[in-house]
C-alpha cells in the first residue's frame, strides 16, 4: 500500500517540466501546484503503456481519451486512475484543492473543465441552488446501491428526492498530536486550545478554513460548531485572537509540518490523521469530547462538464466496491457503503481513527450550508488572520 501519492506515483522529469510549463501559462492554480510538490501529486495525467482494453460496459459510449477531476490532497489511490485508464482509455487529470470555497469559486466562474468533483456535504445545496451541478442519471451508475449506503452520511446528496451527489467517504475533524513532544494525554478541544498557548506554544497549527477553525473554537465553550450567534462568535473570536501569537501556522497543508516535526499538534481531518499515524505511530488522532465536525465527501458532476460520459464512467467505476475498498485503504477515510465495509480488513474496521466509538461520534455535527457562506464568519476569520 503506498504511503502517499509520491510513493505510488513518482513524477518523471518530463511530467515535471509539463507541470512547470502549465504553471507558467497559468493554467494550473497555486493549490494544484502545492499538491504537486508538497503533497505528492496534483495534476498528473496518468498515462502508462498499458494496453487499452475497453470493457463492454464502457464500449457503448464514446468516452474520449481524457477527463479532469477536482478533489482533495492525498485522497485517492493513484492506481485507481491508472486502472481506469487501462480499462477505458481515458486518462484522468487530477486537480487538488484546499477548500470547498475554492472549488465553488472556480465552478461559479465557469470553464473549470472538470467532469467530476468531490464536494463536501454542506456545499451541495448551494451548488444546486446556483444550478451548477447536474441531477445524476442513476441509470448510468449501476454500481451505486442506495440501499447499502448509511443514510446518516448520504442524506445531503439528495435534494427533494433527486440525487445530485453520491458519497465517497465520511470522516471527522479532530486534531493530531505528536505524543512524543506533547506527552500529556488530551481528549477535548478545551485541552487543544489551552495546550496551544502552553506546552504547544509555537508548534500548533489550525486550519486556514473558517468553518473548522471557528467551529472548533466555539467548542471550547461548548457552543454549536455551526453557531451564527453574535455573542457566541464574539467569545470564539476572543479565544482565537488570544491563541494567534502562539500558533506555528494557519494552514490546511499540515502534513509536511507534522511530518518534519516542526509542528507538534494540528487540527486534522480523519484521512490525514490516519495517514500520519500510519507513517509516524507517535502521532495520535484525537476527537474532542465536546463534539466538532462530522462530514461526508460526495461525488458530483458539474453541469458544464466537458466530458460527461467519462465523468459518469469514472463515477460508476469508483462506486464498484472492489475499487472503492482500495481507495479507502489508500486515503484512510471510512466508507459509507456496507458493501465496502464488508471487504475492508478487520484492522481497518477496528481502527478507532477511522471508526470512532459511538459515544465520540454522537456529539459531532454536520457543517451547515449557512455556516460556510456566512459573511460574518468570513470577516471574523479575516480579523483572526490579520491579528
Amino acid at each position: 500500500m503506498p504511503k502517499s501519492y509520491r510513493d505510488g506515483l513518482p513524477i518523471t522529469p518530463d511530467k515535471f517540466v509539463d507541470q512547470l510549463m502549465r504553471l507558467k501559462r497559468g493554467s494550473i492554480s497555486r493549490r494544484d501546484f502545492l499538491g504537486l510538490t508538497g503533497l505528492g501529486v496534483a495534476t498528473a495525467v496518468m498515462a502508462r503503456e498499458l494496453g487499452i482494453m475497453p470493457t463492454p460496459a464502457f464500449a457503448a459510449e464514446n468516452l474520449g481519451d481524457r477527463m479532469s477531476i477536482a478533489t482533495w490532497p492525498n485522497y485517492h489511490d493513484p492506481q485507481t486512475f491508472e486502472n481506469f485508464k487501462a480499462e477505458t482509455g481515458v486518462a484522468v487529470e487530477v486537480n487538488v484543492f484546499g477548500s470547498n470555497e475554492e472549488m465553488l469559486a472556480k465552478l461559479q466562474a465557469g470553464g473549470s473543465g472538470w467532469s467530476l468533483f468531490v464536494p463536501t456535504n454542506y456545499t451541495i445545496s448551494t451548488y444546486k441552488k446556483l444550478g451548477i451541478i447536474e441531477a445524476l442519471d442513476m441509470a448510468k451508475l449501476p454500481n451505486f446501491d442506495g440501499k447499502s449506503e448509511d443514510s446518516r452520511f448520504t442524506a445531503e446528496g439528495t435534494i427533494d428526492g433527486t440525487i445530485y451527489a453520491v458519497p465517497k467517504n465520511w470522516g471527522t475533524t479532530g486534531f493530531a498530536v505528536n505524543t512524543k513532544k506533547l506527552t500529556k494525554p488530551m481528549s477535548s478541544w478545551k485541552e487543544f486550545w489551552d495546550t496551544a498557548m502552553a506546552e504547544g506554544d509555537g508548534r500548533t497549527m489550525v486550519h486556514d478554513y473558517q468553518l473548522t477553525t471557528i467551529g472548533n473554537a466555539l467548542k471550547y465553550y461548548g457552543y454549536s460548531f455551526n453557531s451564527l450567534k453574535q455573542d457566541e462568535l464574539a467569545k470564539a473570536e476572543e479565544l482565537l485572537l488570544k491563541v494567534k501569537p502562539h500558533l506555528f501556522a494557519v494552514s490546511s497543508d499540515y502534513q509536511p509540518g507534522m511530518r518534519a516535526g516542526d509542528a507538534w499538534m494540528t487540527m486534522c481531518w480523519t484521512n490525514d490523521g490516519a495517514q500520519l499515524h500510519r507513517d509516524i505511530p507517535e502521532i495520535a488522532y484525537v476527537l474532542g469530547k465536546e463534539g466538532g465536525e462530522i462530514w461526508t465527501d460526495f461525488y458530483a458532476i458539474p453541469k458544464d462538464a466537458p466530458n460527461k460520459p467519462a465523468g459518469y464512467a469514472l463515477l460508476n467505476y469508483l462506486m464498484n466496491p472492489k475499487v472503492a475498498v482500495k481507495e479507502h485503504l489508500a486515503n484512510g477515510a471510512p466508507s459509507t457503503d456496507a458493501r465496502v465495509n464488508a471487504l475492508l480488513p478487520k484492522e481497518v474496521l477496528d481502527n478507532p481513527i477511522l471508526y470512532p466509538a459511538a459515544d465520540l461520534l454522537k456529539p459531532l455535527e454536520f457543517g451547515a450550508a449557512a455556516t460556510l457562506t456566512d459573511p460574518g464568519r468570513a470577516e471574523l476569520m479575516a480579523r483572526f488572520k490579520s491579528a
Binding site: R30, G38, Q108, M205, A382
Partner: protein, 287 residues
C-alpha cells in the same frame, strides 16, 4: 511627401496595434470589470450581484491591518533586497573579469526561469525541520525553528526578487563612464568618496527602478508569507486571495484591488520623482 508621412503613420499604427490590443483585452477590460464589481454587492451565496454602492469602499478599514502590514513589508523587503543586490551588481559591472561576466549574469537570471512558487516551496523544505535544523541538531542545537518566522519571510522575499534588483543596478553601473572614476581619483577623492559621490549617484536611476519594481511586486505578494510565514501574517495579497477564493466577496475584493492599484501608481510616481530629482540633471558627458 504627404503620402510617405501617411504611410509612416500607418506602419507605426500597425506595429503598435498588437500591443495595444493586448493591453485593451488583458489590462483595460479586466480593470473595467473589477471597477464595476467594486460598486456591486456580494450575492447571498457569494460572488457578485449588480448594484451601485460605495459600501465596499467604506468597508476598507476592515482590512486596515492587511494594508498596514503590506506597507511595512514592501519597503523593508525592497530595502533588504537592495542591500544584498548592490554589491553583487557592483562586482558584476565593475570588478568581474570580462569573460566571467556573462556566465555570472546567467547564473543570476537562470533561477528566475523557474516559477517563484517552486523556488519558495523549496525553501519550505530547506528551512523546515528536516532541513537546516536537522543539520544543526548534529552539532547540538536542538529544536530550532526557522520556518514560519518573519526572518524566513524576509529571506524568501530577498531570494525571490533579487534578480529584479540586480539587473537594473547592473545596467546603470555598466554604463558608467570609467573615466569619471579616474577623474575623481586624480582630483584627490578617496575611494569611498568617489563611490558615494560618483558611482552611487550615477547608479541611482537603476536603484530606483529596481526598488520600485520590487516594491510594486511586493505590494501584491501573498505566496511567500503563506508558505514561509505560515499564513500568520496577513498581507493585502492574502486578503485578496481570501476574498475571491474563500469568502467569495468579489465586490469587496474588487474594491481592495482597485485601491491597491491606486496605491501602486502613487508609489511609482513618487519613486519616479525622487529618481529624477536625484539624478535627472546630472547627465555628464566628457567631450
Amino acid at each position: 511627401m504627404r503620402g510617405s508621412l501617411f504611410r509612416k503613420n500607418l506602419v507605426t499604427t500597425l506595429l503598435l496595434a498588437p500591443a495595444a490590443l493586448w493591453l485593451v483585452i488583458f489590462l483595460v477590460l479586466p480593470f473595467i470589470a473589477i471597477a464595476i464589481f467594486s460598486v456591486g454587492e456580494r450575492a447571498p451565496e457569494g460572488g457578485y450581484q449588480a448594484a451601485l454602492t460605495f459600501a465596499q469602499y467604506a468597508n476598507l478599514p476592515a482590512r486596515a491591518t492587511a494594508f498596514w502590514n503590506t506597507m511595512v513589508l514592501a519597503p523593508i523587503g525592497a530595502l533588504a533586497c537592495l542591500l544584498v543586490a548592490y554589491p553583487v551588481a557592483y562586482y558584476l559591472a565593475l570588478r568581474a573579469p570580462e569573460r566571467w561576466r556573462l556566465i555570472l549574469l546567467a547564473m543570476i537570471v537562470i533561477p528566475f526561469w523557474t516559477s517563484l512558487l517552486m523556488r519558495t516551496y523549496a525553501w519550505m523544505y530547506i528551512l523546515g525541520g528536516r532541513g537546516i535544523p536537522a543539520l544543526l541538531a548534529y552539532v547540538g542545537i536542538q529544536d530550532l525553528r526557522l520556518i514560519n518566522t518573519p526572518g524566513a519571510v524576509l529571506l524568501g522575499i530577498v531570494y525571490g526578487y533579487l534578480p529584479l534588483m540586480i539587473l537594473p543596478i547592473y545596467v546603470s553601473l555598466e554604463r558608467l563612464d570609467r573615466r569619471l572614476l579616474e577623474a575623481s581619483a586624480d582630483l584627490g577623492a578617496t575611494p569611498l568618496s568617489t563611490f558615494l559621490g560618483v558611482t552611487l549617484r550615477l547608479s541611482l536611476p537603476g536603484v530606483m527602478t529596481g526598488f520600485s519594481l520590487v516594491m510594486i511586486l511586493l505590494l501584491g505578494e501573498y505566496l511567500i508569507p503563506t508558505l514561509l510565514g505560515g499564513g500568520k501574517v496577513f498581507f493585502i495579497g492574502n486578503a485578496l486571495v481570501d476574498l475571491f477564493l474563500q469568502s467569495r466577496n468579489w465586490p469587496f475584493g474588487s474594491a481592495i484591488a482597485i485601491t491597491l492599484v491606486l496605491v501602486s501608481v502613487v508609489v511609482l510616481i513618487v519613486a519616479n520623482r525622487i529618481s529624477t530629482r536625484l539624478s535627472g540633471a546630472r547627465r555628464v558627458d566628457l567631450i
